[in-house]
């Protein structure tokens, strides 16, 4: 069942906000507290917020399990692919081949305390994004699956 209109409106308003905040946490993982997992969990919680404010039946048309499953697998493939890319250029698995290289995310970080530049840290932001996508999908699927048993019970 849906919750009241006030809650629903607030969920609609908060969903983009939490989403962009979660993406901020994911992308700034190497500068501020946070990272892929935390940001992913924040985003997944925003999905859960929408689910709880509306109802499982309402949401099923908009947030589909297949999409989340694809997202989860895609995140993991990106993660493991980033690790494996190091193999292709002759380094061991998970070698940070982008750090200090000048490519994407490849700027060196100045030593000591500094405000930080987004474009640093090599593969770490890439992996953060990958884990963020994966956790986003994974935690959303967990809640959707558990709610589906309730929905089945109701009918």
């Amino acid at each position: 069942m849906r919750m009241s209109k006030i809650v629903r409106t607030s969920a609609d308003l908060l969903y983009p906000f939490i989403l962009i905040f979660g993406l901020y946490v994911v992308l700034h993982g190497h500068l501020t507290p946070g990272g892929g997992f935390q940001g992913g969990a924040v985003i997944a919680t925003s999905v859960v917020l929408v689910i709880v404010a509306w109802s499982y039946e309402d949401i099923l048309a908009m947030l589909r399990k297949v999409v989340y499953k694809a997202q989860e697998s895609a995140g993991l493939i990106l993660f493991i692919g980033t690790g494996a890319a190091a193999l292709l250029i002759g380094f061991p698995f998970f070698y940070n081949f982008l750090a200090n290289s000048g490519l994407l995310f490849g700027m060196p970080a100045p030593p000591g305390p500094n405000p930080g530049e987004l474009n640093t840290a090599g593969v770490i932001p890439v992996m953060n994004i990958a884990v963020g996508i994966e956790v986003w999908g994974g935690l959303a699927i967990i809640v959707l699956c558990m709610l589906s048993s309730l929905a089945r019970e109701r009918t």
């Binding site: 919750m3 009241s4 006030i6 809650v7 607030s10 908060l14 405000p115």
Partner: protein, 118 residues
């Protein structure tokens, strides 16, 4: 020194209202009245503590012109806004749920919602 005083006053107000909210939570007779205490007082109190931090950050920024204090101020404002926003909605949701689960408002002189639902 003046900022210190202002910050201290804000903090004291904030803590005072938070304490009142908790006191109300412990003292009032039923869910709805407790909700009055917690929602308004703790939101107000927490916003005031945030305000103290904002003023403090502003004074630091005024002194050093270091952009990190902008971040401090803005993030504190966002936290306070999110707090006020979510608190209002969640107390509404809780009140509605409490009423739906059949808790009657204690000492109530009138209950239009109960009548409407009946």
């Amino acid at each position: 020194m003046i900022t210190d005083t202002i910050v201290l006053i804000c903090l004291v107000i904030g803590i005072l209202f938070n304490a009142l909210g908790v006191l109300g939570l412990l003292r009032f007779p039923d869910v709805y009245t407790r909700m009055h205490a917690t929602t308004k007082a703790t939101t107000f109190g927490s916003v005031f503590t945030a305000l103290a931090v904002i003023i403090y950050g502003g004074s630091l920024y005024y002194g050093t012109a270091d952009p990190q204090y902008i971040t401090l101020i803005i993030h504190t404002i966002i936290a306070a806004l999110a707090l006020a926003f979510t608190n209002a909605v969640s107390s509404h949701a809780l009140a509605r749920a409490a009423h739906k689960s059949g808790i009657k408002p204690a000492q109530a002189v009138v209950d239009r919602l109960g009548e409407a639902r009946r």
